[in-house]
Amino acid sequence: MKPGLLVILLMIALTSLCDTINQLFLKSAIDSLNFSPKFNLIKIFKFIIQLLTKPRVWLSFIFSVISLCIWLLVLSKADLNFAFSADSMHYIFIALASRFILKERFSHLRWLGTGLIVSGIVFVSLS
């Protein structure tokens, strides 16, 4: 393990965490609007305008900007292939949040998938 790897991994964890929070806010804002499944460009445009009036969207936006800033710092120090693979740890955060905060029930398939992601990140970090 190279020195500094732990710092990089922590920063990637932080950007993943910000990304997870950003997605949760965005999801909650989108769910509060009902949109028709038939999309066209004008409807998408109207939908985005409607979204912009929601404070949760701005919170989500702030977190995505923070996430981007940390991400750019990571990319200036780490290889892209490593950083991109390790960034999949947001799947772990989402799994943990869904299981322990939202108390969702998971199938065995989902646990298996999350376990594979964890071991994949360990492999990528050790190589």
């Binding site: 999309f39 799947y91 990528v124």
Partner: protein
């Protein structure tokens, strides 16, 4: 309602989102790479670093592509379930390392490719597992 029929048009949109997603990460990496020698030690040096990165055209090309992918992705998800779309879209886990090797001259060891394959399989299983819950209602 369970939408799983992947038409040619949706497949093309998914491939486009895969390629554009990879382009986003390439652009961001290029913008950060120009400041790679910059030592970021505290918040004020981080601010100077970010100010320099945000003047890079690569960064703005990346942000423009983010907006493009958002529009394409909204179109895809209005026509097909997430559990079907994500496994097809997650090929960027292979494309990004490929682009890193070819255009950024990074090294990817066999061991790391194995880790990437694990992550890719894991992402596919996680997204397929959401179908299990939806399936009984179709």
């Amino acid at each position: 309602m369970f939408k799983k029929k992947v038409t040619l048009r949706i497949l093309l949109l998914l491939i486009a989102s895969d390629i554009l997603e990879t382009a986003i990460h390439f652009f961001f990496k290029k913008s950060a790479l120009a400041q790679a020698e910059f030592a970021v030690l505290d918040l004020s040096s981080a601010a100077v670093f970010l100010k320099a990165v945000f003047t890079s055209p690569f960064l703005w090309a990346g942000l423009f592509t983010v907006a493009l992918v958002f529009i394409i992705w909204s179109t895809i998800l209005s026509r097909i379930d997430l559990s079907v779309a994500v496994p097809i879209a997650s090929f960027s886990y292979i494309l990004v390392p490929l682009v890193s090797v070819i255009f950024l001259h990074e090294r990817v060891t066999l061991f790391r490719w194995m880790g990437i394959l694990f992550i890719l399989t894991g992402v596919m299983l996680v997204s397929l597992s959401s179908r299990e819950r939806i399936a009984p209602h179709k």
